[in-house]
Symmetry: C2
Subunit: 400 residues, 2 copies
């Protein structure tokens, strides 16, 4: 039945093999006998397909991908051996096939797996020791490959083209919501995959954050510097119904998302010139970005990179309005890839070193109370030669 549907793989086989092998090494070092991976982002990373799946990755040996509903599609999209799974009760049968005892150490994604699902696995594997394999997986995911860079560059093209399409429609009086709808429609038409994956519990990312004017961009329930007012207390982020006026700082912050990956990008726009204080604040953000591009090198500690940005912001006079309000976030950037909140997190106190192959979004932002919010965000590859920018949109304030 699937033949005529021509499902095709996107992630190359060599990528999958390399990722699985890297994850296996980390499992071995962590003393985990086998990982049982079930979350969509992790499944995509390790298999190249997202179906209702249970993926066993032993510390040594071949993975086993068990799929409900549509194993044929999974088999067309993944280089791994796919089997049909009819009942979760048959999961324990995989252990002896992998040469593992019933009391093996089984790694689960405990940072995302709900307690009730966990309790079901406790019943299914009554003798096993259930441990957390999420760190091993997220560490592996944090080092991107050349192939991943190329997909991220396609994401950057989508982000650039959709922002240009939306910017062309901005007129005095257009509401934040109308502008957001235009941008979201443009992104989707250009191939946005439709969902933005966010790993942290309760974090729901809109397709885009669009806001302008003196009160725009206040922080919300989202783990980021800016949030926005939103349309309703039920989803208090993103665009409101407020019309945009001349000379207001318009902030457009969104992930360009396709083929499972995303870049993160923010630009500040204005109908006519920005007032001097807002332009100066933007220039400050740009200076911080320039500084970061020399500081954020392999081996630099994430906390040091944050402190360099915060210290520069203070020097520029933005110490009390840097990275959001009413409660600023103490970070300056984050890993990005299949999810919007990947490792590393460039936050206060982190002694994690940056590594070559990390992909990070750096987002200096300033909120001038009663005046407006400005900022810039680009996505970068951390490399031995320094940062390389992936996001491709014009970097200055977009004066319309």
């Amino acid at each position: 039945m699937t033949g005529h549907l021509d499902y095709v793989a996107v992630v190359p086989e060599r990528e999958i093999r390399r990722r699985v092998a890297g994850f296996q090494r980390r499992l071995g070092r962590a003393g985990i006998d086998v990982a049982l991976v079930v979350q969509n982002a992790d499944l995509y990373y390790l298999t190249g397909t997202v179906q209702q799946s249970h993926l066993f990755v032993p510390a040594a040996g071949d993975p086993v991908l068990l799929v409900r509903k549509d194993p044929e599609r999974a088999a067309a999209e993944s280089p791994l051996e796919v089997e049909s799974l009819s009942s979760m009760r048959s999961l324990p049968e995989v252990l002896p096939r992998l040469g593992l005892p019933a009391n093996a150490a089984i790694g689960l994604e405990l940072d995302v797996l709900p307690v009730r699902n966990y309790q079901r696995y406790q019943k299914i594997f009554p003798e096993a020791r259930l441990v957390d394999c999420s760190a091993a997986l997220l560490e592996e995911r944090a080092i991107k490959s050349e192939w991943e860079f190329s997909v991220l560059e396609q994401c950057a093209q989508l982000a650039k083209a959709s922002l240009e399409a939306a910017a062309a429609q901005i007129r005095v009086g257009i509401t934040e919501l109308e502008l957001s709808a235009i941008l979201e429609g443009a992104m989707r038409r250009l191939g946005h995959q439709g969902v933005v994956r966010f790993r942290a519990f309760n974090q729901e990312m809109l397709q885009a954050h669009v806001f302008a004017g003196p009160d725009a961009g206040r922080s919300s329930y989202m783990d980021g510097p800016l949030g926005g007012r939103g349309l309703t207390p039920a989803v208090s982020q993103g665009a409101s119904r407020r019309p945009i006026g001349r000379g207001e700082a318009i902030v457009i912050d969104f992930p360009g998302t396709r083929d499972g990956y995303m870049v993160d990008q923010t630009r500040t726009l204005s109908i006519g010139p920005l007032p001097d204080d807002l332009q100066a604040a933007y220039d400050g953000c740009a200076q911080i970005e320039d500084l970061l591009s020399t500081v954020a090198v392999p081996g630099a500690l994430c906390g040091e990179v944050y402190e360099a940005a915060a210290s520069k912001a203070a020097d520029l006079g933005y110490g009390d309005c840097f990275m959001g309000a009413p409660m600023p976030v103490r970070f300056i950037g984050h890993g990005v890839g299949i999810e919007l909140d990947e490792l590393p997190v460039l936050m206060r106190g982190s002694d994690r070193p940056l590594e070559s192959g990390n992909v990070i979004a750096l987002e200096p932002k300033v909120l001038l109370s009663g005046r407006g919010t400005v900022g810039v965000e680009n996505t970068w590859v951390v490399g031995d030669g320094g940062l390389r920018r992936i996001t491709a949109a014009r970097n200055e304030v977009w004066e319309l």
Copy 2:
């Protein structure tokens, strides 16, 4: 700082008070001393605001809403007493204020709470007995109020208007993706809140499912009858880049979403008349819907309602292609409200009775292999006088 931002409440105070009281009765019956609610959908239901919050609801007494980042906004949007929370370590101080001992039975939302978060609460409340309060909460949420019906009717107007706007743009050769982008943009402009809340782990709902033609609508990793091909193996649901031809069954299935609530709606459309076999299959779905509107009454068991639909489908000759392929789902509908997958679930074997005040989406769908997918979905209030339809779009096949 918030005054000039004019945040306003949406959910009336009497609603919040009634919901809290109803939840408290269920907590008391379940022997749970206090619930600690943290998930966005549940927070919105019980407080009227979504911020980074910990809500204590004791089985008796006043709730305590503790908020990080923006307690002022929460206080403006919720009638509950709001306090600022600076550290999770201070959470245990609430127990004695509620007259509860350190070894109280604390209810958590174990169906959605990640294991790692749960382990943090174990450390914070080392003596407490942590139990699952999600059933009590979901049961309370399943009985909607007159005020909720009125919000759902506004959702239905959004669903109707956005479908009409998109349908007006359908031409031979438009791709599923282009049509989906137009629909999604229209929904957003009309006030779609930007996110579609889905409770089940790993279920990610696109803003809309748009697909057409002989192979459209195959089931995916989503827990529904139809899925769609999507743009990428990373998100294998919804529109593909396939152009839509004359006489193809176009299925458009999406939640109309605003102010925290949603209705679910599916329509079948066609450029020119549908071929006879697809029209007959649609007529079959319509007959099943008519049947359900007399069967789905208060007291009817959800499993019986499903069997009535399945049996009627079999009588009509669709026994082997009813509710999706390659693996049909054994259900005919689901509760809907703040999340797309609320109680009750009208599935095989369920001995749960329908109750007056339930809001359910019924969605008979047929997939004729190699020919096309058709179906209809409306959202209904279960009442003592029978079902009352909320969704407002024209119910027949939309011939364009």
